[in-house]
């Protein structure tokens, strides 16, 4: 059956010609190795003549940058950041167009119409899907041309945006790690030191419980927390090159089992069972003494529970050593952007030392670069990035993430155990590895 015939009839019928924009894109081929720099610049292509020369000041263009809408605290800082850029590069005009509502859904429509913003946020967990679909421009040539040094980014953040062959499809705009936040007074009352190992954590929870804290730990029953403990136990979700699931390895299953037991032995409870929306609220309402969250807890606590005193400590160490998860978001250039050179100038400014310092010095976000000092009091969360592992895996993330979460909830309700959680997750991963 002739595809073109079909396409012609149907598009005529539809008028929604948008989706056919990409027409005969062959998988993999086009985007990855394609010509990023040369053809890109709509207005002022800086002449690829020199080979190494890339003069950002000679580039002009009108850029649209998109992300989800910044909160009330972040918005003015982002505005300041873009104003600074405007002063430094007056030839490039930037318009920030936040996406209201569900970000991936809105972006899917823009990608399908081949009209993405020039520069936009990419959540680390979605990056593999978007990279696989050739939606993001590889940055390697730009990095080489302009001599941009990526070695200053923490691996846990940068690796989230690497393609299967190691090309870089985005630079982390900031980053967050999981750490342990604890209520100082509650621990003191129970005579407990902040735990540093799994054994100490269990002992601390038991001591707190004996001291009248009904749910010493607030624990999310989701993979975005449990996996940190699986890593600490020496387990993992994938092998090194992400070609096989390892969530059913003995270490991984033992890690899941250990985390499950925190619930089963009454050391921890889920937020919903504590009548709160998330563990930050459990810390604020002093329902739990210890939670495992990231830097987003700080502004929340300052706003909502300023009187509750808490402190940060590293995630406890398990049989497999120290481990935590790295959550981050990149700035990436749309493969269909018509202003790639100018976008690169903006991207390199925002993720360079100057831009990132402006962005993070007030403490709304933590730097993803080692050479940018974050705000005071954020040391634990920032330093965790030294050994944090990226929250970024393979395309199909939401399927195995949901599989883990649903099986874990079932296990908490008494249907199945750690092995079943591992099996369900592995099954969902395998269906995406084919």
């Amino acid at each position: 059956m002739r595809r073109s015939l079909w396409a012609a009839t149907l598009t005529a019928l539809m008028t929604v010609a948008a989706c056919t924009g990409g027409s005969t894109a062959s998988p993999g081929g086009g985007g990855a190795s394609g010509s990023p720099a040369g053809g890109g610049g709509a207005s002022g292509s800086p002449a690829g003549t020199g080979g190494t020369g890339f003069d950002p000041n000679s580039i002009e263009g009108d850029l649209v940058m998109s992300g989800w809408s910044a909160g009330a605290v972040e918005a003015p800082i982002l505005e300041q950041l873009l104003e600074d850029f405007q002063v430094a590069y007056p030839n490039i005009k930037v318009r920030f167009e936040p996406v209201a509502g569900e970000y991936p859904a809105a972006m899917a429509a823009k990608f399908s119409a081949a009209e993405p913003p020039d520069l936009f946020y990419v959540d680390s967990s979605l990056a593999p899907t978007w990279i696989d679909d050739d939606l993001l421009e590889p940055l390697d040539e730009y990095l080489a041309k302009s001599g941009f040094d990526v070695s200053q980014f923490y691996d846990g953040y940068l690796n989230a945006f690497k393609g299967p062959d190691g090309e870089i499809f985005g630079l982390p705009k900031d980053g967050n790690t999981l750490a342990m936040a604890y209520n100082t007074a509650m621990l003191e009352e129970a005579g407990v030191e902040p735990p540093t190992t799994h054994e100490e954590l269990v002992a601390a929870a038991d001591a707190l419980k004996a001291n009248g804290v009904e749910a010493p730990l607030c624990l999310s029953s989701t993979m975005d927390r449990a996996l940190a403990f699986v890593y600490q136990n020496g387990g993992s979700l994938f092998n090194e090159d992400k070609t096989a699931a390892t969530i059913d390895s003995p270490e991984s299953v033992a890690g899941i089992d250990w985390y499950l037991n925190l619930f089963k032995n009454g050391q921890g409870q889920r937020p919903a069972d504590l009548g709160v929306d998330w563990c930050g609220q459990a810390l604020g309402e002093e329902k739990s003494a210890i939670i495992f969250e990231g830097g987003w807890v700080d502004p929340y606590m300052t706003d909502t529970f300023p009187e509750v005193e808490y402190a940060w400590a590293e995630m406890p160490e398990g049989a497999g050593g120290k481990a935590t998860l790295a959550f981050t978001v990149s700035y990436s250039i749309g493969a269909d952007s018509k202003n790639k050179d100018a976008s690169w100038v903006l991207l390199s400014y925002l993720t360079g030392t100057e831009g990132m310092t402006t962005w993070t010095e007030g403490g709304v976000a933590n730097p993803s670069r080692k050479d940018v000092e974050g705000a005071a009091g954020k040391e634990i969360l920032i330093d965790g990035a030294e050994y944090a592992r990226p929250w970024s895996f393979i395309p199909g993330f939401s399927e195995f993430n949901d599989a883990f979460n649903n099986a874990f909830t079932a296990a908490l309700e008494g249907t199945g155990g750690a092995q079943e959680v591992a099996n369900a997750t592995k099954e969902a991963i395998d269906s995406n590895l084919q």
Binding site: T15, S23, D273
Partner: protein
């Protein structure tokens, strides 16, 4: 489509210029909604059918025939979503219909405050389902109003017998999540169903009831022997609308269980599954195939109902 091919019949266009211009105006007026319908509804369905044979992400990749369908039908999460959706429809539709009919009969009586009751019963239908669902989750949470009230009323022993502890998380526990949403939706949609039934009730002639009264029929008999059977076209209409709505359950499911259909996939419905594949994973070809399967199921269910309730009776 318009009967353009049958112009050879002399009547419509030959019968005077006035009638002719009326007809042209009529077809012109029909043309706009029909064109929109063809493009937006039929066109979308055909287009979805087309891309369902593709590996299609945000752009077309390659034609893979029925591979999407094979993969979907063997996917366990999809199978779960189908059983969830059918279970939901099987329970919520009769509940909605019974509740709607009951309310319609009640407010159809000549009682004081009739208008107030009609408005009050219809109210949940006009409130935002998102807002209602969020409130419902609060009310049904472990420390929520529902658990507090049943404890105050001393009903906990009864619930204990049924296996529910005093702090049961109704929407957060996989054994009760879907049933809770069923009860919620039966209530929120009952107003709309009432409205439908009310309009059908008012088509039943008063004389039939008068004749029955003369023959000595009580209200109970009148309902079962007259009202219920004469409402047959009403049942067909309400059941069809309600089944279609039920098979498309999405908003309450995603608000209560997130896009993962938590807890333990108990709230994964077919549309939620479709949504996740399309929006989270950009598997548009695959998601289109899910949509086509859903279309076939809904279409089949409607045909079955036509069989059950038959044609409109001729009275």
């Amino acid at each position: 489509m318009a009967d353009a091919g049958r112009v050879r019949r002399p009547s419509p266009f030959g019968a005077g210029s006035e009638r002719r211009s009326e007809l042209i105006a009529a077809y012109a007026l029909i043309a706009i909604p029909i064109a929109l319908f063809l493009v937006l509804n039929i066109g979308s369905i055909l287009y979805a059918l087309y891309i369902s044979f593709w590996e299609w992400t945000t752009r077309p990749r390659e034609i893979i025939g029925i591979a999407n369908y094979q993969e979907i039908l063997s996917d366990r999460v999809f199978q779960r979503s189908v059983t969830n959706t059918i279970y939901y429809a099987a329970l919520v539709v009769p509940l909605q219909m019974a509740l709607g009919l009951f309310l319609a009969v009640v407010v159809n009586q000549k009682i004081r405050g009739q208008t107030f009751f009609r408005a009050a019963f219809y109210f949940p239908a006009i409130a935002s389902s998102a807002a209602i669902t969020v409130l419902f989750i609060f009310i049904m949470s472990p420390g929520g109003l529902f658990n507090e009230v049943r404890s105050l009323l001393g009903l906990n022993p009864v619930f204990q017998l049924l296996g529910f502890g005093p702090e049961h998380n109704w929407v957060g526990n996989s054994s009760t999540a879907l049933n809770s949403i069923i009860l919620l939706n039966a209530w929120t949609t009952s107003g709309t169903m009432m409205l439908f039934y009310l309009s059908f009730l008012q088509t039943i002639s008063r004389e039939v009831y008068e004749a029955a009264a003369i023959d000595g029929a009580g209200p109970w008999q009148a309902f079962w022997k007259i009202t219920f059977p004469l409402l047959k076209p009403g049942h067909y209409f309400v059941a069809t609308v309600s089944v279609i709505g039920a098979l498309q359950l999405f908003d309450q499911a995603i608000i209560a269980g997130g896009s993962g259909g938590e807890p333990a996939n108990s709230l994964t419905t077919m549309v939620l599954y479709l949504y996740r594949e399309a929006i989270r994973e950009f598997h548009f070809g695959y998601a289109a195939a899910v949509g086509i399967i859903l279309f076939v199921i809904i279409f089949g269910a409607t045909l079955v109902q036509r069989r059950l309730f038959g044609q409109a009776p001729s009275w």
